[in-house]
Subunit: 393 residues, 2 copies
């Protein structure tokens, strides 16, 4: 096991009518002028936006609204938010949405107090010093941004999708009402479940593979969200299983599932290029490449993949061959992805064959022109990336 730091200070209010707590929580964390940041029409139509605004008004908290955040959130919207916060004297950002909105809010929060361009953080030209406090009202369990230290932003100028992480970006609070996810379409629900599983697996596939207290939490989360995914796809208004997916989304990405392990993140980096180039749903992109990544790397530590197969996927152990058990586990997760309507190849994801040129371009970007490698379980260079993309095509 590896030494670790664990820091998940976000205060969680979870349950029916939880959105009523937003005003009180903003006040508790010192907000006096709020940016209410959200996505498209669904927050307006569902009445959630109004409910949150009423909760702010009940605490006499003035606010300005900025909607229009799209999946794979754009740098231009972040710039718009930064300008608005400065013009209006905003001192607290409240995100209503899923990972895209929360990530956009995080980028705004560090951009407001920074003199240069906020993109500097994503290109490693700057480190965040101070930022505006922020909170989240979660509507899409997937990215885990509500408790994570990370933000991912797409720069339209070059289709660059890059991430940045700092403990200073962790939300002060996260408000979660599973009822607010009843209307999520099946595809978004399923893509969210993939993202949750992948946040756990990116930390699980590690050569620091002896800490059973962390492993068994990770394996439990993966088993639970699989069961709950089938339930909510059949019954979209099943509160209990919506709740389990929602809470699992936070636990899978707040650091808990990585205590003592070395993280990998290769699948995430490979996917960032896919959604940067094709604007696909992140979770679906992860499902499309994960199996190809797994088959490319599993021989680095077949027993780890065998443990995953048995403990997380319910595969029967082949005591004579860890390799065969490992492969059965990879197949089992791909089978699960297909069963919930997720793609397991790039052509299913984007609706056509990907070209060799596109594969080369994604690998070039992902490797920063061949100067960076990715992955902890197996270190992958530009050629490895091309191989995995081709296997997933």
């Amino acid at each position: 096991m590896k030494d670790f730091n664990y820091y998940a200070p976000t205060q969680v209010a979870f349950g029916r009518k939880a959105e009523q707590a937003t005003g009180r929580l903003v006040k508790q964390y010192g907000g006096t002028k709020v940016l209410v940041h959200y996505g498209g029409k669904s927050a307006e139509r569902s009445g959630l936006l109004d409910a949150v605004c009423h909760a702010l008004e009940a605490e006499h908290l003035p606010y300005v609204k900025l909607g229009g955040v799209v999946p794979n959130p754009r740098l231009s919207k972040v710039h718009e938010g930064i300008d608005l916060c400065r013009a209006e004297g905003v001192d607290f950002i409240l995100a209503i949405g899923g990972g895209s909105v929360i990530d956009s809010a995080k980028a705004i929060s560090m951009g407001v107090t920074y003199e240069g361009d906020v993109w500097d953080f994503f290109t490693h030209k700057a480190e965040v010093d101070t930022c505006l406090p922020l909170g989240a009202m979660l509507t899409l369990p997937a990215a885990g941004s509500e408790m994570s230290d990370a933000t991912v932003i797409t720069n339209e100028d070059g289709d660059l999708k890059k991430d940045y992480g700092s403990d200073k970006l962790r939300c002060k609070f996260a408000v979660m009402n599973p009822e607010r996810t009843f209307t999520l379409p099946p595809y978004q629900t399923a893509a969210g479940v993939v993202d949750i599983i992948m946040h756990t697996l990116e930390r699980y596939f590690s050569h620091d593979d002896d800490m059973t207290v962390t492993d068994s939490i990770a394996e439990s989360l993966i088993r639970t969200v699989q069961d709950s995914a089938f339930k909510v796809l059949q019954q979209p208004d099943n509160y209990l299983h919506r709740a389990q997916i929602m809470w699992a989304s936070s636990l899978s990405h707040n650091g808990l599932t990585g205590c003592g392990t070395t993280s990998d993140w290769a699948t995430h980096f490979l996917e960032h290029e896919l959604s940067g180039m094709f604007d696909v749903t992140h979770g679906a992109g992860l499902a499309a490449v994960w199996g190809s990544w797994a088959r490319y790397v599993y021989l680095e530590n077949p027993t780890r993949f065998a443990q995953f197969a048995v403990n997380a996927m319910g595969v029967r152990n082949n005591f004579k061959s860890a390799e065969e058990t490992a492969l059965a586990g990879i197949e089992a997760l791909e089978r699960f992805f297909r069963a919930i309507g997720m793609p397991t190849s790039i052509h299913e994801l984007i609706g056509r064959e990907i070209t060799d040129e596109e594969i080369r371009e994604m690998s070039r970007k992902c490797s920063y022109d061949g100067t960076h490698s990715i992955g902890g379980f197996k270190v992958l260079n530009r050629e490895d990336m091309e191989h995995i993309y081709r296997a997933a095509r």
Copy 2:
């Protein structure tokens, strides 16, 4: 499932040489004058006290020391600490020890800024408003106080052992180096493991029993610490298993295992009277009464006890009788307690038969003269308490 709040803001630094981080962390959280609070001679003999003091000196942080905290920490020591902090202008408290030292530090931290007697908090006469920030260097994994909101103090005037809880009492940081637990005696190690298991079970035995994501984490923790307990009792310097017990102690009491459930705490309250009267080790006291509590209450929800038996204790399910599976699970945990040298009756705990008068006196105190009940799984009044103590005698 029940609505819940989750808030575990404590920053954890975990690993070999972790104690070197204490100075940096005190500074990060604004400390400029530190009370170093600790227990007996072991912190001095082991060199840990010196190591922590050096870490403070490296950050140019002045400090005063106050040792002598005993198990079932005393109110008189808390008063001594409050006076010392006021006299010396202390603005940060650093506890080096286990639950007793950390609980004592928490009580000091709320007493320093309170005009009345700190005991007022424990008798529900006051609520904490502000308190000094505090951090912990953990040496005994058991109480989980390093991430919990709770403190338990014994008032020598009447042998009253009472608890108080507030999010304001949560440590800013907790530093954990499993190597620092290699020298723990077997009895303390085992009693700690009981405490960890009981912190999980007090939240697990709930009629809100449908949230599998929480259940499976709880069941995982219980299985892991049982395995690790046997390992470290055979090999006291087994880093991995000392680490698993240590991390489990924090996770079992930081709220994670109670998300969505209603807590019980009856066994803890019953035990507080035992250690208040006989000054026994808390974990051993829990082991002595738990089985009698469990047999008294399990028929309230036999399927919950059956789930515990199968998922946490590895008992084979009797599909025809949840009651029989439940009883087999209770027996299995008692067998585990005995296997690690813990008592499963009060006479094993205190070395003699307890008298009827003592049972009546403990029940009187525990029920505040019959005016309070305890327990969430089954509500227990004064007569119920007497029954359980008698069954455990």
